[in-house]
Symmetry: C2
Subunit: 357 residues, 2 copies
């Protein structure tokens, strides 16, 4: 394949999948990995074979892709606002799989139930609560009233969930995991007091999952752990050897940069790397095997790399492996990846690319 292309090391991928499966099992939790990270049915199959109880997706469109490929239990971890079209799609999905989705207000629960009509009883909902990320999610103490609205409309309430997205900062995962625990316990207690059986308390992100306490969550939904990325490296949540995905790029230009560094230009830009760039990452991505090199500027088809002055800079035409900042964006930008094993390589289609709705 011509650069830029996405390369997956299947052995590292398999090790990441097995390691997380074992770590989550040891903690007495169920693993329901978020497949928005990879969007590839083949990888979901590896996760299920390693013991995942089901899949997490972000959209109905992603659910449709994975159910068509054989998934039998999908959780759309998103506060859906149902339209008649979305309700019809959910009704079709639930003929082939167990399907649950999120509600985070009395209004959205009531609206979902009304829009689904008779199909409501075949779908499960989990009440989303806010554990400190302040994105979507009801206050934990309001979860019971949301659950009651869902039940009144005929939906089956399976439990509560939260996303501790504020775990994405240095030093933050442990505190976020504690807040997640409190939010899930408060919400679940509210539901139980209102007569619900809380089957699932769902939490977990890649940064916080290993700090998850089993008296908070019953299941966790990490996604990025399959590949790792420059954000996880910066958070200390994976090692360079754990990186299973890189974007292979060609050095197309080079010039003297400031401070004696050489500046290289790679043919991988924001249209394949994504442009997420938290303040706590060193740049717009890293170079595998070259910890001193950093992507200091990114445009659509150019990554400018500052190369350490004390290392010989690669020549034009060299191929480099870029570790993207946020790997979930990368898989949404390519139609296929090159999956490499010791015995050869093959192309895997990114079947759920672009399934935003």
């Amino acid at each position: 394949m011509e650069t830029p292309f996405v390369r997956i090391d299947v052995d590292v991928l398999a090790r990441n999948i097995d390691r997380m499966a074992a770590a989550v099992r040891e903690r007495g939790l169920a693993l329901r990995p978020h497949v928005k990270t990879h969007k590839i049915p083949r990888i979901a199959r590896m996760q299920l074979d390693a013991g995942a109880v089901g899949l997490t997706v972000a959209t109905i469109g992603e659910a449709e892709v994975f159910v068509a490929e054989g998934a039998t239990d999908v959780f759309i971890a998103y506060p859906l606002w149902l339209t008649p079209d979305r309700a019809a799609r959910l009704e079709r999905l639930v003929r082939s799989a167990r399907v649950s989705f999120g509600v985070d207000s009395v209004e959205s629960a009531t609206h979902a139930a009304r829009t689904l009509g008779a199909a409501a009883s075949r779908l499960e909902v989990l009440v989303e609560v806010d554990s400190g990320h302040h994105r979507s999610g009801a206050a934990p103490e309001d979860a019971a009233s949301v659950a009651e609205a869902a039940r009144a409309g005929g939906l089956r309430v399976a439990g509560v969930f939260t996303f501790p997205g504020h775990s994405y900062a240095p030093g933050a995962p442990e505190q976020a995991a504690l807040q997640e625990r409190e939010a899930l316990r408060t919400a679940a207690a509210g539901l139980e007091a209102a007569g619900f059986v809380v089957e699932r308390r769902s939490g977990g992100s890649t940064p916080s999952v290993l700090a998850t306490a089993a008296d908070g969550a019953t299941e966790v939904r990490p996604g990025v752990y399959v590949f790792g990325d420059a954000q996880q490296l910066a958070l200390g949540r994976c090692d360079p050897d754990d990186i299973a995905l890189t974007v292979v790029a060609t050095v197309v230009s080079r010039h003297p940069g400031p401070d004696g560094a050489t500046h290289l230009v790679l043919d991988a830009g924001s249209k394949v790397l994504g442009s997420d760039r938290p303040a706590w990452t060193p740049g717009f991505g890293c170079i595998a095997g070259r910890p001193g090199a950093v992507i200091v500027a990114l445009s659509e088809h150019h990554a400018t790399v500052s190369w350490p002055a004390d290392e010989p800079a690669p020549a034009r035409g060299s191929l480099l492996d870029v570790i993207p900042n946020h790997v979930c964006l990368v898989l949404n930008l390519v139609d296929e990846v090159v999956a490499v094993t010791a015995s050869g390589s093959e192309r895997w289609p990114v079947a759920a690319r672009g399934k935003n709705s």
Copy 2:
């Protein structure tokens, strides 16, 4: 279509295309619009019908799409590093169209000529020079030696080009246009002294194009002007009425935010809006018709909007039009758009989506 989806107002689009064509014509310049912005052959056709002399693309893959749809003159404004496969693709392209591409070093020019072999004489190159953006491009005074290397290898040298990308900052476009002028003049003078006929001096970005002097450039390559976006609004380079593209999103959640504002959550995140966020834009995007509302946080499927305290916030289920920060990223994230006119709407495929190589 279900949200999030991309909506194009065809009347505004046509007005933007005509206005830029007229402004560039008045300045005595040729217009060669960059179609990486839209990736839609139908829109390229509108630009050519309005008088564009040809198209600019970023990759061979984009060139292949537009030539297959009838374009007869494409400029790949990128310092390509040719492989045998890329050379074969260029050779196929040049059977159907006039094709030019960029070189920015003696080494890449020599390598391109050698890799193309006998086909070199059918392809044109322009020498890329750096006018202050410090990305790719030779120093203007080195352009002649690059051109000589290209000529020695049998390539036809058509001229010089630059991208004044440092025009993307408040107050910067005029100064960037001056630097562009100087860089193009210096480079062209060098080529002329070495015996080249400089047919094309190519410059221009949407922020700087109207400051381009005809004694610097002969042609300009703006891209974003067809749609406008939140960056161009922040730079004062378009008005709210000029915005031709929005991402239609649903309000899925709302909560009290800090400072009395209501926080809304929309179902459009970085996987459809892109996550470019220069420090000089107010947020991760704006809401059409609501200048006080700003996207304060963005994740893959959530945009958090801070709604002005003195305006009633939309209810859950409402549709809002999001103006993305950088529209070029959006078109690379969807397979089709909804094109709306006074008489109805139709779907246009984004034929060059994902053509990164």
